[in-house]
Every structure is written in structure tokens, then in C-alpha cells.
Symmetry: C2
Subunit: 132 residues, 2 copies
DNA sequence: GGGATGTGCAATCATTTACTTGCGCGTCAC
DNA sequence: GTGACGCGCAAGTAAATGATTGCACATCCC
């Protein structure tokens, strides 16, 4: 049940989305459909090189895709990984929910047992699952 | 249409999930239902204080909740924000999809027009939003 | 060809961030 | 009470990261 941190794809997406400037870039990109690092720079408050580096990270994460036209390199957003990550999060949340429900039941049972010796917590009632 | 970066809640969640150690903590926490910083440290390769700091960030992001029992401070996972962020991502992905579809249509029209003057791109067909 | 425009590479800088160590204090058990 | 256990605060360190500047190279337009 435990140990599904998930690999590189989700990891990279989360890392990429964590930065405000990159989210801003994505937002502008999605707004204009396609753009180059230079045109994006015009509507932002950082240098072109900063935008270029961010775009590289975004492309490595699979959130955008770049292609050459003439002498310019245009980028478009790619929704795929975003959808995947959203699903991953949803599954994780569902897993947490299930786990919480189980714990709640155990806690209520422990509470029942605790009523027999009032004023003191009987914490060791719960096996602590395990660890390793 | 543009400008929905979304505020603090999503921002904090993304930032919190971006770190591998924090995801590991969340995973262990979800596995054991509840745990303290000390018990978590036992199954990880960082110091207790590191875990404490991570838990503070996770709690600020609303991903976990801590409460005192006796002299110990236990934590449980809270799925709420995770679900919200997943939905946010899904909406964003859908928005991207819609935008891509629109651009594709425009591009095809531009391609049609481009057939009349072969060998040269008619790029200025798209208003380019603007650029200061 | 020649100037303008757009790109890519590389080094540098400053801030942030993850992690550590040390210590004082509250809480439980005997 | 005394000792053990767990927690919290604080300062400090080292690495990652966001951002900058400078310059060389390629491409477009006249």
C-alpha cells in the first residue's frame, strides 16, 4: 500500500509548476497559443535568458513543446502531463481518504476501550502498522 | 481569458509537493495514519529538525494537520487541498486544450491563405496579442 | 553583401532552501 | 524529586535555484 511516490514525470511537473514565474509563462503561453522566449519576455519582468531557462525546465517536464520556424523557436503548451499529474493527485487524495477512514474506525474502537480506564490515554492500543 | 494563476492555496501546495523529502513524509504519514516528527525520523535519512521543518511547510500548505496529545505532536494527512489542486490542474489542462483547438483552426486557415504565396510564411496573420 | 533581429552558450551573482547541530524547556514514568 | 523522552527555538552551513550580463552564431530583409 505504501511507497507510491511515483517517478520522474510527476516529479518534474510538480517541480516545474512550483515556480511563480514558470506558471506565469505557462499562462501567457496558453493565452497566446504560441510564443517565443523573446515575445514572452516583452510582457514579463525578467530577462530573456531567464525565460529561456524556464522554458527549458518546462519542456523537460513535458508541459510545453518547442519547435523551430525560421530563426525563431516557438513554444506551445502541452496539456498531457498536466492531466496525468491531476489524476495522480486525485488517486493520492483518494488513498489518503481511505487511510483516514480506517484510522478513524480504529481510533473509535480505542476510545471504546479507553472508557474503561478514564483520565488516561491508552495509546499503545494501536499497533503502529509497522515500519521498515 | 488570461490571468488565472490562482493564489496562495494552490501555490503553497505545489511548492510543498515539489520536494522529494516532503513527498516521502506524506507517503509515510498516509501509510501509518498518524505519526510524530520523531517516529517519522526513525524511518528516514534526515534529522528530526529537518522533518519538523518540512512538516511545518506541509501544515502551512494544508496538506497535514498537527495536534498535541501529551508531550508529543502528532500529524495526520488532510486530503482536501490535494483534491482542490487536482481539480485546478484539470481545469487548467482543459483550458489549454480549448486554446490549442482554437489555435489549430487558425493555423489551418493561415495555411490555406499561405498556399496563395508559396515559399514564405505569413506570420502576421495572428494579432500576437500585443507587446508593449 | 550588410544591418537588424532572434537565438544559444557560458560565466557570474544573489537569494532561497534543505539540512544540520546545540541547547533549554515541558511532560511522562518511576 | 530525578531521569528519560519528546518538543521547540535559534544559529549556522552548504548546495540548489532564479536571474543577470556578455558575446558569438544563425537567419531574415533590403
Amino acid at each position: 500500500m505504501s511507497g507510491n511516490i511515483e517517478g520522474p514525470p510527476v516529479e518534474d511537473v510538480l517541480g516545474a509548476l512550483a515556480d511563480p514565474t514558470r506558471r506565469q509563462i505557462l499562462d501567457r503561453l496558453a493565452g497566446s497559443g504560441e510564443a517565443t522566449a523573446t515575445t514572452l519576455t516583452a510582457e514579463m519582468s525578467v530577462s530573456r535568458q531567464a525565460v529561456v531557462q524556464h522554458l527549458a525546465i518546462l519542456e523537460a517536464a513535458g508541459l510545453v513543446k518547442g519547435y523551430r520556424i525560421g530563426r525563431e523557436r516557438r513554444f506551445i503548451v502541452v496539456p498531457r502531463r498536466l492531466t496525468e499529474t491531476a489524476r495522480w493527485m486525485d488517486r493520492l487524495a483518494a488513498q489518503w481518504d481511505g487511510r483516514l477512514a480506517a484510522i478513524k474506525r480504529i481510533a473509535e474502537q480505542a476510545h471504546q476501550a479507553g472508557l474503561e480506564s478514564p483520565g488516561r490515554q491508552k495509546e499503545n492500543e494501536q499497533p503502529e502498522t509497522d515500519r521498515s
